[in-house]
């Protein structure tokens, strides 16, 4: 009888979930480390690089609650959502490197990628532009009688954009099935919360749309997972949208070329102690969900997977310039 079998059923599910969470968070972390600290510095990524270091719990915890038929709208800091949807790590790296096997075949950069087969939609750069689009997808799901929902992420800074307001409002008036997830990492580029909004929390904006808003610990993947479950229950019941504000911190500059001198170092220190991966690992061993060597095995597997993904991406050719003008229109 193995250790896992000794765990009662409920605990077994928790343990399995924790394993999954750890795997995806670690995979995202490793992917982004490789991108930002290696490939970018090697000049293999010529465009912008934005990572979600320290925020992995949010896309992981939330996306793991989604059904495959639920439509995801991740931001530039939600790579785990793609991984969970089954977008191959190698294709994501090829995407960053502008290769033919990238998710957009070299047409667009970094996290600007999507796949309608997998129900994951590509952002555009303009922040919050996906918010009304997610509302529209939710409208369609309702229209078509599907039981699915849209799940749309945005940063706290993005809530200042007019499109955000219009999308939130429209979705609430129409009682659309959408879960809004705010990655509140307290900075938008160099702009702190205090220069972004006069209210203390993004959740304070829920009442403007009569949308229930919950504040959660965005560095606790299981808390995010549970809260998303509550939100989904509400939303699937046809009660309208639900807003989750996940408090977290951007453990990096805005992008690979930003050293974040404007962030008080204490903040990095303080939040570093709340690292969602370290926290989950500690919890897993404390709860008896995993032995240390199992955790090490997960991390080793992740590193291997990323090694292979890098190899795949580096082997991928650049797109053929002859394809430059293809696909602007469908009837081309």
């Amino acid at each position: 009888m193995s250790a896992t079998q000794a765990v009662p059923t409920g605990r077994r599910e928790e343990a399995a979930l924790a394993h999954k969470c750890l795997y995806y968070m670690s995979l995202m972390r490793e992917m982004e480390d490789r991108i930002e600290r290696k490939l970018y510095r090697q000049g293999k990524i010529v465009g912008g690089v934005y990572v979600g270091r320290g925020q992995e719990a949010i896309s992981t915890g939330a996306a793991l609650q989604a059904d495959p038929g639920d439509v995801l709208f991740p931001t530039h800091r939600d790579m785990a959502a793609y991984l969970i949807r089954g977008v191959p790590a190698g294709r994501i790296l090829a995407q960053y490197m502008g290769r033919a096997d990238g998710v957009t075949h070299g047409r667009d950069a970094n996290m600007h990628m999507g796949d309608l087969q997998l129900n994951v939609v590509a952002i555009i750069s303009a922040l919050a532009a996906t918010v009304p689009v997610a509302a529209g997808a939710a409208l369609a799901l309702k229209y078509l009688g599907r039981k699915n929902v849209a799940m749309c992420w945005f940063g706290e800074g993005s809530t200042s954009v007019g499109h955000w307001h219009e999308g939130m409002n429209f979705a609430s008036v129409q009682k659309l099935p959408v879960v809004w997830i705010c990655n509140n990492n307290q900075y938008a580029y160099s702009t702190p919360m205090s220069l972004q909004m006069a209210c203390a929390n993004v959740a304070d904006r829920g009442p403007a749309y009569n949308t229930p808003a919950e504040i959660i610990d965005g560095n606790d993947v299981l808390a995010v997972h549970q809260a998303t479950g509550r939100a989904l229950e509400y939303v699937r019941a046809g009660k309208g949208p639900y807003l989750l504000e996940c408090k977290t911190f951007r453990m990096t500059g805005h992008s690979a070329h930003d050293a974040a001198h404007y962030v008080p170092p204490e903040l990095f220190e303080e939040w570093g102690k709340l690292d969602p991966i370290a926290r989950l690992e500690a919890r897993m061993t404390a709860e008896g969900w995993a032995e240390r060597n199992e955790i090490d095995a997960i991390q080793a597997a992740v590193r291997k997977e990323v090694d292979e993904a890098v190899a795949f991406a580096e082997a991928s050719p650049y797109p053929d310039p002859a394809t430059l003008t293809d696909g602007v229109y469908g009837d081309q």
Partner: protein, 323 residues
């Protein structure tokens, strides 16, 4: 039974909604009220609130929601109450919708209907011709019908098209023009201009309400022995350069006419295309008749002076003929 331009668009929308349950309408005051111009009058009663979605005042959300719904397989037709407010949805149209297919292969089969154009004394914000903001944006299609027949046929094609189509309905034509439409169903292809009057001395290339001005001018010119060919572009993007150039090849002289302001207007693109492709056939300068570079003024005498009209076209055409 004669059908107005407005009624033709109504019919096209109605038929497409009957044909395809995934076609739906979204916009401000289009439901119970039937739309500011009553284009969707009766749709709410017939198709219900699911398929005729009244929205808050949120043009960006209207277009954004249309995009999202189209990703899920629906065929949204969004209405801007006036074309002038399309500026509020600009980012969604030119950045989200236009580039989606090219970037990641996700088609955006939406239609954005926008009542545009002047002549109704609507002033600077109810009279604009915003087409060139979009003609310069790859990934969009831009349609501007002049006749009831084309309006119906093109709205149907726009709905069936797999790319985002901006449909500029000239509000001055809504109730002004009428014609008998075929009994059966038909469509008009996007991307095809039409020679609406044949002539030999010069070509007048135009679109939208100005087609009627061109035809009136051609009539008057005919009385003076000047034979003008009139080309109605019908679609502005993709542009049917072939039909335009073929006409210029034949007549060797061309007057480009649009209601829109001059600088950066459609005439520029056409002039470039013509002088690029059929330069050797040109016997005279390419002439433009357009509105001047000002906002659209409200007061009738100012707006009358602002808009191109038959007299201005005839005068320039005469000059061109004599050149």
């Amino acid at each position: 039974m004669s059908t107005t331009y407005l009624e033709a668009i109504r019919q096209g929308l109605w038929e497409e909604m009957e044909r395809d349950p995934n076609v739906f309408l979204i916009g401000e005051d289009i439901g119970v009220y039937g739309g500011a111009f009553k284009v969707t009058d009766g749709f709410y009663e017939h198709f219900g609130e699911k398929r005729v979605v009244d929205t808050p005042i949120s043009e960006a959300a209207i277009v954004g929601a249309a995009i999202g719904a189209s990703y899920m397989g629906l065929r949204p037709v969004a209405e801007m109450q006036f074309a002038d407010f399309i500026t509020c949805a600009f980012d969604q149209i030119v950045n989200f919708a236009a580039k989606s297919r090219y970037r990641w292969g996700a088609a955006v089969p939406i239609v954005v209907r926008a009542p545009s154009g002047g002549g109704i004394h609507g002033g600077p914000f109810h009279s604009q011709n915003p087409e060139m903001w979009f003609v310069r944006t790859p990934g969009l299609k831009v349609v501007a019908p002049a006749t009831a027949y084309d309006a119906k046929g093109l709205i149907k094609s726009a709905i069936r098209d797999n790319d985002p189509v901006l449909f500029f309905e000239h509000k001055g034509l809504y109730r002004r023009i009428k014609e008998d439409l075929p009994a059966g169903e038909y469509t008009v292809p996007i991307g095809k201009a039409k020679v609406v009057r044949k002539g030999g001395h010069l070509s007048i290339v135009t679109y939208g309400a100005m087609v009627w001005t061109a035809l009136e001018a051609a009539d008057q010119l005919a009385g003076e022995g000047i034979s003008a060919e009139v080309v109605d572009l019908r679609t502005l993007l993709p542009l049917d350069r072939e039909t335009v150039c073929a006409s210029v090849k034949k007549t060797s002289k061309v007057l480009i006419l649009h209601e829109d302001t001059r600088t950066g207007g459609m005439a520029g693109e056409l002039a470039a295309s013509i002088s690029e492709s059929v330069f050797e056939y040109l016997d005279a300068p390419i002439v433009r008749v357009t509105a001047p570079d000002t906002p659209v003024p409200y007061s009738p005498p100012l707006e009358d002076a602002f808009l191109p009209n038959t007299a201005k076209v005839v005068e320039k055409a005469r000059w061109l003929y004599r050149y």
